[in-house]
């Protein structure tokens, strides 16, 4: 049960003179939902970018399923089994919802350009399978009726759901969700929490960035807190909530502070 899917070891990330991440250590265990919290600009998204290969850390190591993935190309990291969503939704807006998800599902296909031109049996088979999987996922996220609509024309909430469906389509061992509830009303947040649990129950491991404390407390197994590029706490939700450093940095200093 306590098998580590992902380990960040002493990750430091510098941009020019600015240190975005400072010696961050983080472990994600198989089958859990780990929430990463911290103020805006604390470096949470930078963590995601380091994990997915967008940034190469200045120092430190990222170990995914026992192997270092530092320096591996982004698309290969996705193939290895890490998928993500984005804080500021980045769908393929000119593609339909279904196409968005099939694009994700294509990751593990073997057929390429030649197969497509000549319509080889494998290509046909894979097309069919990916399409089926994509529809299944749209259904899973409750947006099957949007399949034929363009990504950019979907309502805001469905765009967020579609991003998750697209990420799931790559069949990830680890799913990174970057503020999936941003812009959601409370009812939607509740529904999302259910969905995230459902995703976990379906066998995925989830690393989640979120601001909404009620959501975090509702879904996460563990919480890690980043502040100004440094991890200041890591533990169960209750532990973290009562950590004085966390209260000071994130939850806000006591009202009489000024």
């Amino acid at each position: 049960m306590s098998e580590n899917v992902l380990e960040l070891k002493n990750i430091t990330m510098k941009f020019g003179g600015v240190t975005a991440l400072n010696e961050v250590n983080l472990v994600v265990k198989k089958g859990e939902i780990l929430a990463l919290i911290g103020p805006n600009g604390a470096g949470k998204t930078t963590v995601f970018n380091v994990i997915t290969g967008v940034y190469k850390p200045t120092s430190g190591d990222v170990v995914f399923q026992g192997e270092s993935i530092v320096g591996i190309k982004r698309f290969k990291i996705t193939k290895l089994g890490i998928a993500r969503t984005f804080q500021n939704i980045r769908l393929f807006g000119e593609s339909t919802a279904l196409e968005n998800v099939v694009t994700g599902a294509d990751v593990h296909s073997k057929s390429g350009v030649v197969g497509a031109i000549f319509g080889t049996p494998r290509s046909r088979r894979e097309e069919k399978a990916n399409l089926a999987r994509a529809l299944e996922l749209l259904d899973f996220m409750g947006i099957k009726k949007r399949a034929g609509q363009l990504g950019k024309n979907l309502p805001y909430g469905d765009q967020r759901r579609l991003e998750i469906a697209r990420a799931l389509a790559t069949n990830p061992k680890l799913l990174l969700l970057d503020e999936p509830a941003a812009g959601f009303n409370p009812a939607e947040k509740v529904a999302l929490a259910e969905t995230i649990k459902k995703i976990r129950d379906a066998g995925y491991t989830v690393l989640l960035i979120e601001h909404d404390m009620s959501l975090i407390m509702g879904v996460s197994d563990r919480v890690a807190v980043l502040d100004f590029g440094t991890k200041i706490a890591d533990g169960t939700t209750t532990e973290v909530q009562n950590d004085p450093r966390v209260i000071e940095a994130y939850l806000g200093a006591p009202a009489d502070a000024s």
Binding site: P39, N40, K152, Y156, M213, S214, A255, S258
Partner: protein, 239 residues
């Protein structure tokens, strides 16, 4: 100088980001908009300063509807903004960045020394770095520069978009102290903040924005003690 927003609607493509919001900022007040990421706070500020077109509704600045006025002209009215992400001109020196804040002031030369002095007084750090390129500043210094630059135009209303973002706790305190100080010199402030705790402590009144709607409007101190608000935005309501 009163800023009044009436039944504002804004679209991104087909998505309605602001769904009929009304906000009033009275002269001399600090008013804050709080809400989760994606609630439409930044869109509100962008629309007020003219970077986003209005679908419907009015933006009244001292009684005049400016909702159709080009953005660059709104700056001349005395509406000044320190934008999200700070918007520092990275290739310009700190001094040049500050000068940009006075871009359209008729008597810019005459006022320059005076205003620079004021800004340097508020942010002594900027004086030290006057000839350094904006891009080499730290996050906190950039935020100071963004606010300082906005002040250079002698604004009547100052729009601040998440001034605490990415700053260390100490720096956050610092920035908010300065915001209060600026307000005391008579500048009306509309503040968008993620750090609700700080924002509510400093502001006179506040609006809670949720998915493009105002769901609550009250005195800031009242909201600070509102259990629902605490639960949703102050993170301390869960227990």
């Amino acid at each position: 100088m009163r800023l009044e927003i009436k039944d504002l609607r804004v679209h991104y493509g087909k998505i309605e980001a602001i769904k009929g919001v009304s906000v009033v900022v009275n002269e001399g007040e600090i008013v804050t908009l709080i809400g989760a990421n994606g609630a439409g706070k930044t869109t509100m500020l962008k629309t007020i300063s003219g970077l986003r077109p209005v679908t419907s509704g009015q933006i009244l600045f001292n009684g005049e509807d400016i909702s159709k006025m080009p953005a660059f002209k709104r700056a001349d009215l005395g509406l000044s903004q320190a934008p999200e992400g700070r918007g520092i001109f990275v290739g310009m020196t700190v001094l040049e960045n500050l000068e940009m804040g006075k871009y359209n002031r008729k008597d810019r030369k005459k006022e320059m020394a005076e205003d620079l002095e004021k800004v340097y007084h508020l942010f002594p750090r900027l004086k030290e770095r006057a000839f350094q390129a904006g891009g080499t500043l730290s996050g906190g210094e950039q935020q100071m520069l963004a606010i300082g630059r906005a002040l250079m135009s002698r604004p009547k209303v100052l729009l601040l978009d998440e001034p605490s973002m990415g700053l260390a706790p100490l720096m956050i305190q610092n920035i908010f102290n300065i915001i209060t100080e600026i307000n005391k010199t008579g500048v009306t402030i509309l503040l968008v903040e993620q750090n609700a705790q700080q924002a509510l402590q400093r502001a006179h009144r506040a609006y809670v924005l949720e998915v493009g709607n105002v769901v609550k409007e009250a005195k800031a101190s009242d909201l600070l003690n509102d259990p629902a608000v605490r639960a949703a935005y102050l993170g301390t309501g869960a227990h």
